[in-house]
């Protein structure tokens, strides 16, 4: 990564680096030290020793991250308003919602599991999409939101605990499980949550962690 870049390539919009000193990047896997040079848009800097990605310069990163996280938040609202599955047994009709699944676990004597479902399918996705929007949208206009550093830290923490896609697989498995004893069909909430999953993946992949923090540092100074 230390090779010289020609002037034409550096003009291809690297994100602004905060002032002061040479910048370094370390590999998360092998701890090899690299000088953090700007890379052209759409490419990634890789570790020279083990090949792991060090940082990426994503195209239209701030706009994409804000747009997709906003879409994810809106779809999350839809997913909470409408049921995922509708089940008909004889004359009974039951609806499945995220809150309903968590409440049923709490009511039926397993509060820990209920809280886990709330954390993994509601709190973590909300922190991730909400945090990303809160941090990225003001950066589009060059200023940083109050408490953005803290929000960004919490956002990174919540990332592994976001299990929207796992919950969707759970809905599919339960549908097949219940299909033999009742009439089950998908509802709006399921498709909305599938949209949340796609938008969330696009939002998180939209901006690199180093870029986000560098931009935040520049806007603050």
């Amino acid at each position: 990564m230390r090779k010289e870049l020609s002037k034409t390539r550096t003009s291809l919009l690297p994100w602004p680096k905060p002032p002061g000193g040479p910048r370094f990047a370390t590999c998360h896997f092998c701890d090899t030290l690299h000088t953090a040079v700007p890379v052209p848009e759409g490419t990634a800097a890789r570790c020279r020793r083990c090949g792991a990605v060090l940082y990426q310069n994503r195209p239209a990163s701030l706009a994409r991250a804000s747009a997709f996280s906003l879409a994810a938040l809106l779809l999350m609202g839809v997913a909470h308003l409408f049921p995922f599955l509708t089940l008909d047994v004889v004359s009974l009709r039951r609806h499945l919602t995220l809150v309903g699944a968590a409440m049923a676990l709490i009511d039926e004597g397993s509060p820990v599991l209920g809280v886990a479902v709330v954390l993994f399918t509601m709190v973590a996705p909300l922190m991730l999409a909400g945090g990303l929007l809160y941090v990225c949208a003001p950066l589009l206009f060059g200023w940083s939101a109050p408490g953005a550093f803290l929000v960004a830290k919490w956002m990174h923490q919540s990332e592994p605990w976001n299990m929207v896609e796992v919950f969707l697989l759970g809905v599919l498995v339960s549908m097949l499980k219940l299909a033999k004893m009742a009439d089950v069909h998908f509802d709006v909430g399921f498709w909305a949550l599938a949209g949340v999953m796609v938008c969330m993946a696009a939002a998180v992949a939209g901006i690199d962690r180093d870029e986000l923090w560098d931009r935040m540092e520049v806007s603050k100074s």
Partner: protein, 213 residues
Amino acid sequence: MNGALTKAAACGLAGCHACGRVVAVSQGRCPRCGSRLHLRKPASIQRTIALMIAAAVLYIPSHLLPIMTAVELGDVTQHTIISGMITFWKEGSYPIAIVIFTASILIPFLKIVTLIWLCAAATGRVRPSPSMLGRIYWFTELLGRWSMVDIFVVGIVVSLMQLGNYMSVAPGPGALAFAGVVVLTMFAAMSFEPRLLWDRLDEQLTAVPVAHP
């Protein structure tokens, strides 16, 4: 080994865990985000092994105890993870049976085995190639969350199958144990430090210590 490659730790530099900024570890806290700086995650092997032992202990009751108890017209049936999988297999729903087998039985088991093996490699007890180990580590971090699928199935079925006197389903103690396995293995994978694997490799390659700049 390429002489131009140096390790950040050899220069006293640490990459911040939270924001990725590389600064001298002597500063104590990251000047950008305020997180504590470490050259390597503290006590990573001890923490990983402790969490793995806890997960391995919980793994046994999670498969022996029922994850769901169904009451159908007064008949009580208890379902374990394995019995649910066998039912799907017998009915001919092979893909679902394979998904449940992979997510609930294979992945947690493989995760416990690979993380203990990675800890052995990080302490120098076994010596496989680090690039392969890196891939294995990435794989365990990626797949661990999918084990949670069974807990969500329990939640969904419990929520839908509240049909008054006709049928009701309640979560069993096995589900709690299984959720414990998933969460503990996730924490274990997070506390593991992959850079230790490369440190061991460097120790082997440089029999004579190299003077660092």
